[in-house]
């Protein structure tokens, strides 16, 4: 049973001016029986993805499922693209968003085993929805009497992980910048060597120097590619995980909410029992039946909420364990891909220097 999605930027700027939007072609291959065919393609826009998140969040996060959040809507980025600026950074923005949406779609496939509606979704107010969700999470200051030590430890682990991830994110951004700087300096150096070669009056040396300039130029290309590789692999991986960790925390918070509901119900039950006791004492038999009814009502609620809490706890526990496994597998995969690209670079380097060596030896 599998379901995999591929995202291609399909139509750039349907409509004109500020009403334009980017559409994505979402191609899906699946073995799930609920779909009419094995492969299909639909057209979606960014707000559709946000709508999807909203629906899933509503439905599943209350039950302790981790719903991966989509990338943030960037007004500035979109405006630049809409205004049609021939800006390399807007091309980068478009690619970043496409990649982020693709991984969002992939995450949903990975993390949400239930069937998902891919029908056309509603449009407005998604950011508000998202903001509301995150607000709720941050205001969570419930102090819980943790019965289960496992949850305590896990929450601590998640906090630590998030700290490290954020630190890493900063370091990776700085690494990418350094590599871009190296690339720039190499290009400048290559040009300088070409000039030197042209003023050199020994023919063989002159040729060798211009060959060196070419080698350095190609190496500069390699650095550029490596920089964008660093970026897309690591930076995005990190950013994804930081967001996912946020969702995990949201999970734990939902569990706390459930616990709070249960506790509130217990308190209410207690109050009702005290009220009954008071009535017995004050000898008001007519109100007694109502009190007894209320007690029964709250006893039922307490039982219900307790069961819900235990159910959510079990789900969260299972989900976090699954999350850990998925995370480990994902990381390994990405790192292996990254190492393979490093390997490629080295092979290219060898090619360039091997071509240059005979030129250098030919100097006389």
């Amino acid at each position: 049973m599998f379901c995999s999605c591929e995202l291609i930027l399909f139509l750039l700027l349907t409509g004109d001016g500020m009403n334009a939007y980017m559409a994505y072609k979402v191609s899906t291959q699946t073995s799930l029986t609920m779909f009419r065919s094995k492969t299909f393609t639909v057209r979606r826009r960014f707000s559709d993805f946000l709508g999807l998140y909203e629906k899933l969040s509503e439905k599943h996060s209350q039950n302790g499922y981790i719903v991966p959040p989509p990338p943030e809507k960037s007004i500035l980025g979109m405006t630049k693209v809409k205004v049609g600026k021939e800006d390399p950074s807007s091309a980068e923005f478009v690619e970043r968003r496409r990649a982020a949406l693709e991984s969002f779609a992939a995450c949903i496939d990975n993390y949400l085993p239930r069937a998902v509606s891919t029908q056309a979704l509603s449009g407005a107010g998604f950011l508000k929805m998202l903001n509301k969700a995150t607000d709720a999470v941050s205001k969570m200051t419930i102090k819980m009497n943790e019965q289960d030590v496992w949850f305590d430890e896990k929450i601590q682990d998640v906090e630590n992980e998030e700290q490290h991830m954020r630190k890493l994110h900063v370091m990776v951004e700085s690494l990418v910048n350094h590599r871009k700087e190296l690339s720039g300096n190499t290009a400048v150096f290559a040009k300088s060597v070409a000039m030197l070669g042209s003023s050199e009056d020994n023919t063989a040396l002159s040729r060798a120097l211009s060959q060196l300039a070419e080698v350095e130029d190609r190496i500069e290309q390699l650095h550029q590619e490596q920089a964008s590789n660093d970026f897309f692999t690591f930076s995005e991986l990190l950013a994804d995980y930081i967001r996912l960790l946020g969702a995990v925390k949201g999970c734990f918070d939902q569990r706390m909410k459930a616990w709070q509901r249960w506790q509130d119900a217990e308190n209410m039950l207690q109050k009702k029992r005290e009220a009954e006791a008071k009535l017995l004492w004050a000898n008001k038999p007519d109100k007694l039946q109502q009190a007894k009814d209320e007690i029964a009502e709250w006893e039922a609620k307490v039982t219900q909420y307790e069961r819900e809490f235990e159910r959510i706890s079990a789900t969260v526990r299972k989900e976090v364990i699954r999350f850990d496994k998925e995370k480990a597998r994902d990381f390994k995969r990405q790192i292996v891909k990254y190492l393979e690209s490093l390997l490629n670079s080295q092979q290219q380097l060898i090619k360039y220097w091997e071509a240059f060596l005979p030129e250098a030896k030919a100097i006389a």
Binding site: L168, M195, L209, Q346
Partner: protein, 374 residues
């Protein structure tokens, strides 16, 4: 024979002491093999004595070695010491090792540059016979060459200003001799281009060094996953890999520095020395032409003709002597330059290949293990 090398060097707080070792069969020396200790200022004294010697006006004076500069490296080490409390023991040790390696590399370079200067002098058919050079090599006491005081430094400054103004003047006069005219044009352009390339290679290599950041990033990664046993072994393997590739990357930057940056720096100085030679010849030519004019005037007035004739002959001889040796010097300069570039470029390419292959092998074996492990 005369073989000179720097067999040892000691770095003290703010100076470096070089042990200059000589092996020679020349009769001028008391022994066949001997050593003395010299400091940078004494090398400069020797170089300046060549420049100021009129007899050597027709030779390219080997450029003086640059002053040993450990300030930047020392500052970094100091900062590291101050920041010791704020980082983990592992981070501190790693950074310290890197900075110490950097310090050592600078040290080795300054030794090499001082040695190259002495070897160039020893290889030159005329300069190797210089008396000051022999004193420098053999006299085992301090030469008492104190550094120039402020007054002398100011005099030097003005001398240079006058020279460059002169330089422009002299360069403007078109040379009758094609060879020298070509050399003048060539050297002016070449010198500027080498200067540009030298500066840019330095900048490129410096930014290469900064991509070692990656290693520290990797250390941070492993901390995140320490508790996750599923991925522990994986991370350990990759950490080992990055530790090794980082060392190789460091060597790549160091080799580029040595084979490319230093080569360009050296030829920047040598091309300047060649320009200085052309300038001196140009000056001699101007003096000769002025003496000719003076002689014509004297003959016309029929006054002090003998004196004018003598002056003119002296100028003529001086100019011709310089021209003759200058021609050979410039041809030798070309030969040396082409040979040095060839050697360094070949070595650079071979080293780059060696390191890239090393990296490749490490990556291949690591990937083999990682893929097999799942």
């Amino acid at each position: 024979i005369l073989i000179v090398d720097i067999s040892d060097a000691l770095s003290e707080r703010d100076k470096v002491k070089f042990t200059v070792h000589t092996k020679s069969t020349l009769p001028n020396f008391k022994q066949n093999e001997f050593s003395v200790v010299r400091q940078h200022e004494e090398f400069i004294w020797l170089h300046d004595s060549f420049v100021e010697n009129e007899e050597y006006a027709g030779y390219i004076i080997p450029p003086a070695p640059p002053k040993p500069d450990f300030d930047a490296s020392r500052e970094k080490l100091q900062k590291l010491g101050e920041g010791e409390g704020s980082m983990t023991k592992e981070e501190f040790t790693k950074m310290k090792q890197e900075l110490e390696a950097e310090y050592l590399a600078i040290f080795k370079k300054t030794v090499a540059m001082h040695e190259v200067f002495l070897c160039r002098v020893a290889a030159h058919p005329v300069l190797r016979k210089d008396l000051n050079f022999h004193v420098f090599l053999e006299y085992n006491q301090d030469l008492s060459v104190r550094g120039k005081n402020k007054k002398e430094k100011l005099e030097d400054f003005f001398k240079n200003v006058v020279k460059s103004a002169d330089g422009v003047l002299v360069a403007g006069v078109k040379d009758v001799d094609d060879f020298f005219e070509h050399e003048k044009t060539f050297l002016l352009e070449y010198h500027n281009r080498v200067k540009d390339s030298s500066a840019k290679s330095d900048r490129m290599i410096r930014s290469h060094k900064s991509t070692f950041l990656f290693f520290f990033i990797w250390c941070e990664w492993s901390k995140v996953f320490l508790f996750c046993s599923l991925i522990n072994r994986f991370f350990l393997k990759v950490s080992e890999l990055f530790e090794k590739t980082r060392k190789i990357e460091a060597r790549v930057a160091a080799d580029e520095d040595l084979k490319l940056a230093d080569l360009l720096k050296y030829y920047l100085r040598e091309s300047q020395a060649a320009k200085d030679l052309l300038y001196r010849r140009g000056r001699a030519l101007v003096d000769y032409e002025n003496a000719n004019k003076a002689l014509d005037k004297a003959r016309a007035k029929n006054k002090d003709v003998l004196q004018a004739e003598t002056t003119q002959q002296v100028c003529c001889q001086k100019f011709e002597k310089i021209s003759e040796s200058a021609k050979q010097e410039l041809i030798d300069f070309k030969t040396r330059r082409v040979a040095a570039f060839r050697k360094n470029l070949v070595e650079l390419a071979e080293l780059e290949l060696k390191h890239a292959k090393g990296n490749l092998q490490l990556l291949q074996s690591c990937l083999g293990v990682l893929k097999g492990d799942t």
